[in-house]
Symmetry: D2
Subunit: 90 residues, 4 copies
């Protein structure tokens, strides 16, 4: 079972876009483009990565965590969820 199933294609599309953005920044660095223009692009990648993370957090909570709660081992699933959220909220 893939809990992010219905958003799988959306996530792959976004990740492909991010991959392109990362390559774009590589090219900007190679071409010696102005630092601030590159920083704006890096901030955009950061934002896009956060959005993919949030999408997956949502799918995970609606899927795996909800299932775990119905099967009465919700607290373990939530502890795991919090551990990973910890890496995003610093």
């Amino acid at each position: 079972m893939v809990h992010y199933g219905d958003r799988k294609q959306e996530m792959i599309t976004r990740l492909k876009k991010i991959e392109g953005q990362v390559r774009g920044v590589q090219k900007m660095v190679e071409d010696g483009r102005y630092c601030v223009d590159i920083l704006v692009q890096i901030a955009a990648i950061r934002s896009a990565i956060n959005k993919v993370g949030l999408t997956l957090l949502e799918s995970h909570t609606k899927g795996c965590v909800t299932k775990a709660i119905h099967e009465d081992h919700g607290d373990e699933a939530i502890d795991e969820l919090m551990e990973v959220m910890n890496k995003f909220i610093k």
Copy 2:
């Protein structure tokens, strides 16, 4: 003049690694891997992107901003720097 010149290769290497990480996450999603494992990887990419951002912020401040300050138009350069930092510190 490229102010991040001496860190150019380091940044390209890091960006290539990030590109590989993003592709790795795409594959994880395609393979239907467990959400939390993917989220851990996404958090790692976020961290790596932030580090590239910080490296570039440093080079920019030591290069372009320092030059602007010596040429007495430092405040404009700092305003521009702050505007981009705003995108990272939210």
Copy 3:
């Protein structure tokens, strides 16, 4: 019903500490203390606020969200949760 009930006292204690830290920073500014020393304190407050946020997110998920899932209106509760997480993960 208070879902963060068992962590209520812990949260109040932490918030009181944060209040003291904020007052401490006010005093540092009034005293004209060195910017970087103040920034280190501000970063510590930011960290402490994030931790209170994470504690509450956890209590909320283990309490209200779990209850909503058991009562079969989990998705609305998760949508609301994601909306607020969005404010932390930027």
Copy 4:
């Protein structure tokens, strides 16, 4: 010399507001208010703290760092600045 001198009053005003917000959240917790409403307030405090941080970063860069650059020990000042920015960009 206080480099954030001209923004001192602005920073104190903002910090006093943040102190009030933190006290407000304490009261919300004491009153057993709904978690998500509290989380929204905590996110607002986080945002306000970040803004004070950015204001101080700007004053510091326009003041102390600029001065250090003019006196030819800019790189040390920038290294110190980056170390503290590291605490905000994670």
